[in-house]
Amino acid sequence: MKTWAELQAIKADVNANVFAASAPGEYRVLVGLATCGIAAGAMPVYDAFKEAAAGNPKCKVGQVGCIGMCQYEPIVEVIEGGKRTTYVKMDAEKAARVYQEHILGGQVVTDYLLVENGITCNSLEDTTFYKLQKRIALRNCGIIDPENIDEYIARDGYAALYKVITEMSSEDVVNVILDSGLRGRGGAGFPTGKKWSFAAVQQAPQKFVCCNADEGDPGAFMDRSVLEGDPHALLEAMTIAGKAIGATQGYIYVRAEYPVAVKRLNIAIKQAKEYGLLGDNILGTDFCFDIGIRLGAGAFVCGEETALMTSIEGKRGEPRPRPPFPAVKGLFQSPTILNNVETYANVAQIILNGASWFSSMGTEKSKGTKVFALGGKINNTGLVEVPMGTTLRTVVEQIGGGIPNGKKFKAAQTGGPSGGCIPAEHFDVEIDYDNLIAIGSMMGSGGLIVMDEDNCMVDIAKFFLDFTVDESCGKCTPCRIGTRRLYELLEKITSGEGEPSDIDELEALAAHIKDNSLCGLGQTAPNPILSTLRYFRDEYEAHINDKKCPSHVCRDLLTFTIDPEKCVGCTKCARNCPANAISGAVKEPHVIDHDKCVQCSVCMQNCAFGAITKD
């Protein structure tokens, strides 16, 4: 148990001796050890630095969470004085060289620096990727050691909680969140303060604060980064929420596939309890709040609030009808609030800096920032946080570094399997909740997948629908059977069996599922189809009427042809064809028998003369 004065002393000490610290010749080496970094090989890099620096009092090696640039992992930052140097795509050998030349020799190893648009950047902070971001939810990610509460405290950690407990009433807290304009970052964008106020007015012997850390959209990893990089931010915010609504127990529902996040959360909870920042009599007051972790077993539907609570109760994770809403009867029939990780990650900063600070960022109805996981056909795959209202073009072209291989932007998918595609005609849309809804997509939790001209939009719709078919809980009829029938229609179309009436049926069934399903999963499941139909109807028509996939993706619709002018009769294609579909004499042009061809494209890959084309 620490007093507030002791915590302030810790803060001063870390700031003086760890963060600002190093005089010239004193080094901090920070290795990005989030799941992404570890998967890319950061552990051997970390070990190499640890080993090299053992016994060197002038070099401290530490770990940090996700820095945000996936394709450059493992990433290492070397800090000397106020100067940061970022090394990318590291391995143990490179680590040894950096230690020798930079830390011992004082010379930056320019070979391992990050190159953006042909310009070598000394540090991450010099990149366009980083400069255009505004980091609130991710403010500590990549900066602090997530397993060290002192470093969180040094970055104003738990100051908001102290303020809430000592200076603010529950109504004050709710009002600040309400005034800030913060909206839920998990999907639908419901005003967070409003949600809290509903639960706050309920009279009940027990209330709960829950966190949805069951991030399940394909390609989304915003919440994981916060959990792995800044777990105390979540604990502090949930405790604040507990004070705001009058709850004494919180639960973090985190997917079991996030073991690093779970480990760091457990460490954080233990440390917070040791310091008296969680548990009984927080900061010596009579306010008590505890947090438990519940592991999700990997069901997407458990991101739906009622399903999540049902799962925490130990039952099969299925949604239940609303009303009653969770704020009235949620977990264990008690008033409950549920927010996602990113939403909570904003709370302490709003308390410290004020509602107007937060609401000064963003657009009229969408305040603050939003974290996006950039993926797909984009140069800078990674995690970015930008002010609401940033255009899609800025995110893709500038922060994301554009599309590889000079290909053209075709669409961006936001909102995951519940969202939709934003076509090139809306490339300049200012990203916020309402604008995305207006053009047939949604914010969702923040997955942003970029597609170029090589992506078939019917195939994309099929991909997302395959996901929802698989993830439907099976409780209500429209979602359980309807999504399956939708998928079968898409299969029919992409396999060349489509009929003109299929588009009408797709639309009718999609509308039915939206209108009739029990929960948000089903109600939004047809969105990928509806939005691709809205913007790329011609592609559907080409599949059905011309039996062609304009992007040459749908295998059953491809025709491979050998250009007799270019074919030299080397026989390589015929020898490699698994279906024995190619014939021809040596040194004579070869021919593909389309009845036998299975469209595997092995011939095309094997042709050294570019004689084979697909259409």
Binding site: S472, G482, R484, L509, S517, L518, Q523
Partner: protein
């Protein structure tokens, strides 16, 4: 109470706060169609057949779970609503085994009714069907998931009993079954058949043994004798479209004769016999400090439940066989000898309101000298099918009487078919025996009615008897736990597996859910039995002359005698390893 005003199709409706749209619509004579809904039991909003349009709502809403709110404008038959229901039905049909012609539930299928009412097109959706396996492992039930529409009504019904079924897998692969895909025979299913009663379609049926019965009847070397349980007469007429609460005894007896049974007897005979045996057992235990409370043993579902979940109560169970088994044992011993028939040529058949009886007849303990007491236990529904198969016209059948002497029963016996009946019958006899008088008062109204748990205390001379009656296994569990932890002290407990007792057994004619929600099915059926109790000349088991003057005198001697024990009593098996 706060009243809420709303409109349904323009008609103003005022209902108490918290009323659902579905219930509000019922108040003005509109029955919104449902498949998954069971009032108070399964309110999950899953099937989406009950969707209605609410002005201002983003989507259609499920009427079964959406409470009305002030000023709400509801449309239950708009174009949007009717098309949505039809399409949802077509989706269900696309994953349903539509072999409706010969389906057990044809003409009594809630899905079929809706399909017809909405004019569904079977060809709208064609596609893959969910892979399922037929579960025929149980001696009592057959589960055919190819017909299951995942309404979860069986799950809800089972949850109040043993809770051995639930959803497996997810999405399109979801099926209802036992955990880890185990078979019904391998789990703690007590064969009560409440799941069958809850099923809107033909996914759950009893194990049909009609063919075997007709085969026996048509075999001249066999003497085929049938007994019918009291609750059967209270419901069988429903199987022929008659109103709930119609007495069917006379026509049933006539039908059984015309089906070719050699003798048509009444389980009421052995219900009276049970009272003599069990009443004596009770008095002996009370007087001699034996194990108390004594708990009834008529209900085979309850017995299996006790053996599985409360093995520490096995010594509390009456050692009496159930009336069905006592009847069979008497038939193949005293009656066979008396009529000079080799018991091996007797086919002993029972018509029961129960599916668990199919399990009971197969229990090892239920035979004497190598002869099974009862060879086949059929449900009320199976008898209805037999009558239809034989072309017997219910309306044209005369009223006939049971054969003698095993067709004789008292009013005490007939109320065995409803919760509290065994208790009341036992009290009528016990009070007379203990007081040594022929008491005029025979109505023990404290133990009547459809409450799940009933308690009463009766003083007879110097003795005070504390009794309890429970029906439905969730109620049985509550009573036993209260006894186990010393909260309650009873002398005698009646427990019936099915809620309301045998009149609501798992073998009874099936009423669609909207009827069960709006009509007191159990009360009406029980009323039939209480009326017969009033109408019969004798209302106390010890006044049954066939029992007292013939069977005891000629064969068993006296209650709880050595011979009685050999034929009429049994023992139990600890089955708790199934659930450990």
């Amino acid at each position: 109470m706060d009243m809420i005003n709303c409109t349904i199709n323009g008609t103003p409706v005022s209902v108490p706060a918290g009323t659902t749209i579905l219930e509000a619509a019922r108040t003005i004579g509109i029955e919104i169609p449902t498949l998954c809904y069971m009032k108070g039991r399964n309110e999950i909003g899953a099937c989406r057949i009950c969707v209605v349009e609410v002005t201002g709502a983003r989507t259609l809403v499920a009427a079964c779970v959406m409470p009305v709110s002030e000023g709400m404008e509801i449309k239950t038959r708009s174009d949007r609503v009717l098309k949505a229901r039809k399409r949802t039905l077509e989706l269900i049909m696309s994953n349903h085994n539509c072999e409706c012609l010969a389906c057990d539930r044809s003409e009594n299928c809630e899905l079929q009714t809706l399909a017809r009412n909405f004019g569904v097109d079977f060809d709208t959706y064609k596609g893959e069907k969910t892979e399922v396996e037929l579960d025929e492992s149980s001696p009592a039930l057959v589960r055919d998931d190819s017909k299951c529409i995942l309404c979860r009504r069986c799950v809800a019904a089972c949850r109040s009993q043993t809770g051995v079924i639930g959803a497996n897998n997810r999405g399109f692969d979801t099926t209802i079954g036992c955990a880890f895909e185990m078979k019904l025979a391998d789990v703690a299913c007590v064969n009560c058949g409440q799941c069958i009663e809850a099923c809107p379609v033909g996914a759950l049926v009893e194990k049909d043994q009609i063919a075997e019965i007709f085969e026996a009847i048509n075999d001249p070397s066999k003497v085929v004798v049938v007994q019918t349980a009291p609750a059967v007469r209270a419901a069988i007429a429903e199987g022929f479209g008659k109103p709930i609460g119609t007495m069917g005894k006379g026509k049933m007896v006539a039908a059984l004769r015309r089906l070719g049974f050699d003798k048509v007897f009444d389980t009421n005979f052995s219900a009276d016999l049970t009272i003599l045996e069990e009443g004596t057992e009770l008095i002996t235990r009370v007087k001699n400090g034996g194990k108390l409370p004594l708990i009834t043993s008529c209900s085979p579902g309850w017995i299996k439940y006790c053996e599985t979940y409360f093995p520490d109560f096995l010594d509390n169970l009456s050692t009496c066989k159930s009336p069905q088994q006592m009847f069979g044992a008497t038939l193949k011993s005293w009656w066979a000898k008396k009529n000079n028939i080799d018991p091996k040529n007797i086919v002993s058949v029972s018509i029961m309101p129960c599916t668990a009886k199919k399990f009971e007849v197969g229990r090892e303990e239920m035979s004497v000298d190598g002869f099974a007491d009862v060879d086949y236990a059929l449900t009320t529904r199976e008898l209805v099918k037999m009558i239809k198969r034989a072309g017997l016209q219910w309306d044209n059948l005369p009223d006939e009487e049971f054969d003698s002497p095993l067709g004789e029963g008292t009013g005490a016996a007939v109320i065995f078919g409803t919760t509290g009946g065994v208790m009341e019958a036992a009290l009528r006899t016990a009070v007379d025996v203990l007081s040594g008088q022929d008491n005029a008062e025979v109505d023990y109204k404290e133990v009547r009615g459809m409450d799940g748990i009933k308690e009463a205390s009766y003083t007879v001379g110097s003795l005070t008897l504390n009794v309890a009656v429970a029906s439905g296994l969730e109620n049985a569990k509550k009573v036993l736990e209260a006894v186990r932890n010393g909260e309650k002290n009873y002398h005698f407990i009646e427990i019936m597996c099915c809620p309301g007792g045998c009149i609501n057994g798992g073998g009874q004619p099936i009423q669609p859910n909207w009827v069960r929600d709006t009509v007191d099915v159990r009360g009406l059926r029980a009323g039939v039995l209480y009326q017969e109790d009033l109408d019969l000349p004798e209302r106390k088991s010890h006044k049954n002359s066939a029992v007292m003057d013939i069977v005891y005198k000629e064969f068993f001697g006296e209650p709880n005698s050595h011979t009685a024990h050999k034929y009429l009593h049994t023992h139990y098996v600890d089955r708790s390893s199934t659930v450990k």
